[in-house]
Amino acid sequence: MFPFSFEWVWDTVHVVFHGGLWYAMSIMGMGMTFCIIKAAVDTYQGKGGHH
């Protein structure tokens, strides 16, 4: 649920519950995005081709 959903209420529990969910998902999403982009850049630069 996002703040633009009709069920959303601006109160502490909604902010804490969903804030925690988005926070965790953001860390995972950003972490994986960083790893994938860095892997692509490293591969482009010829790193990791030791085999």
């Binding site: 965790a24 591969t43 990791g48």
Partner: protein, 443 residues
């Protein structure tokens, strides 16, 4: 046939033998899948759940595997946050066990909700006043973390690792793994706790109800504590069992002993807290609601919910393994270590059974009697399904991925002397032939 996929420096059984073992376990898996499809197509009438048992075998199994999978978050916490670097030699297997346990928990939930197509409702139409919403959020997110932690193992397969992009991705994921491990520890703390909190807030069920610290009942903390204590015990148990089946040592003793020691102290402190909680609940909380301790247990001998269940959970499967694991001799004696890790794993499963099923069995109103329940074969089959799935995943991961970093060192492969000699002779002959071919050209 599949030797190109097997990690370097380790030996595995022949492919036909592996395939045969896989087929036997797959037969059990298919039985579970058949039962699962029955439930999905025909509905929850395939179960023996009723108005008294809205939570039944599946929820117990769910809570059980989540507690046993606690080894992943706690070992990760110890390795990446506390800095116990020795645990790097068992963390891969702990992650694998955690991955199996949490994917199993989600599968069981997908069966239990009856209509899995509406599973996403809990995220979109969330009831923010329910502890189970927090469980659903944290459980799903933590499963995402476990997928991220498991992925580098898959990418380290010999053939996949040859692709530079996958090699770099695996390397980069290892670099930032501490961030994911910290996120996993945070999520696990809350969902493990909230599973205990569900029973603790039910004031209409005095057997489960506990006093609170702010909004969290004591059972919230006890559940997290017990998962952190018994989860690593199950990881050790699974490691030892894999060693027995593989017929070789896979992890050095110092690593097992360190994890067993930490787990032992966690279990010891947990069981002290549990005893205090039980005494307070029996003498203060329950009497305030009009109950005595013995109202929660059937007094006739041989009863399923006799007082023996409390003694077994707290004493035999709690205090005994804790005392074994905190002593140096206990950890170093294989028979005692086996006893402790098995008892601790049974203990946490028993605790979850009591907190899910005994809560519902105990009569609350004066005209009620004990509610008894026996699961249908479909419930049993779908509960065994994750075990078969877990065995298959362990078999495949062990065969094709570098799950145990110390395996090659502990089990060096000795080349047969004749083969080495033959190779050397063949090499010499090839060299001479090459020189003979080059000689006219030089001339």
């Amino acid at each position: 046939m599949d030797s190109a996929l097997i990690p370097k420096g380790v030996k595995r059984c022949p492919l036909p033998q592996f395939g045969a073992a896989l087929m036997i376990v797959s037969a059990v898996l298919l039985w579970g899948v058949f039962a699962m499809l029955l439930v999905w197509f025909k509905g929850l009438n395939q179960t023996n759940m009723n108005n008294a048992y809205g939570f039944a075998l599946w929820i117990w199994a769910d809570l059980g595997v989540i507690a046993l999978g606690g080894g992943a978050f706690f070992t990760g916490f110890l390795k990446y946050i506390v800095g116990k670097d020795e645990l790097k030699n068992i963390i891969n297997f702990a992650v694998l066990i955690g991955f199996i346990c949490y994917s199993s928990a989600l599968l069981i939930l997908a069966i239990d909700i009856g209509q899995p197509l509406r599973g996403w409702f809990i995220f979109w139409h969330a009831n923010v006043h329910s502890m189970l919403t927090e469980v659903a959020f944290c459980l799903s997110c933590y499963f995402g973390v476990l997928c991220i932690e498991y992925l580098p193992l898959v990418l380290e397969n010999r053939q996949i690792d040859k692709v530079p992009f996958f090699h770099n991705l695996s390397h980069n994921m290892h670099e930032v793994m501490a961030v994911f491990a910290a996120t996993g520890a945070f999520l696990s703390f809350f969902h493990q706790g909230s599973l205990g909190g569900v029973a603790g807030v039910m004031f209409g069920r005095p057997f489960g109800f506990r006093e609170h610290i702010l909004i969290w009942p004591y059972s919230f903390f006890l559940f997290t504590w017990s998962a952190a204590a018994c989860g690593p015990c199950f990881t050790i148990f699974a490691t030892k069992l894999t060693e027995k089946i593989a017929g070789k040592k896979l992890v050095k003793d110092n690593v097992i002993e360190l994890l067993a020691k930490i787990s032992g102290w966690m279990l010891f402190t947990y069981i002290i807290a549990k005893i205090i909680d039980t005494i307070y609940w029996a003498n203060v909380t329950a009497p305030a609601m009009g109950f005595t301790l013995m109202d929660f247990y059937i007094s006739s001998p041989g009863s399923f919910y006799g007082i023996w269940i409390l003694i077994l959970e707290v004493g035999v499967c709690g205090l005994v393994p804790a005392l074994i694991l905190i002593t140096d001799k206990g950890r170093k004696t294989p028979a005692l270590l086996w006893t402790a890790i098995i008892l601790a794993s049974i203990g946490v499963l028993l605790n979850r059974w009591v907190m899910v099923l005994q809560v519902l069995a105990v009569p609350v109103l004066t005209f009620e009697t004990w509610n008894m329940y026996f699961p249908s074969w479909q419930e049993i089959a779908t509960t065994i399904l994750p075990i078969a799935y877990g065995i298959i995943l362990v078999m495949i991961s062990y065969r094709y991925m570098p799950i145990f970093p110390q395996e090659a060192e502990l089990n060096p492969i000795e080349e047969p002397e004749t083969a080495v000699t033959q190779d050397t002779e063949a090499g010499e002959e090839a060299k001479q032939a090459q020189e003979a071919e080059l000689a006219p050209a030089k001339g």
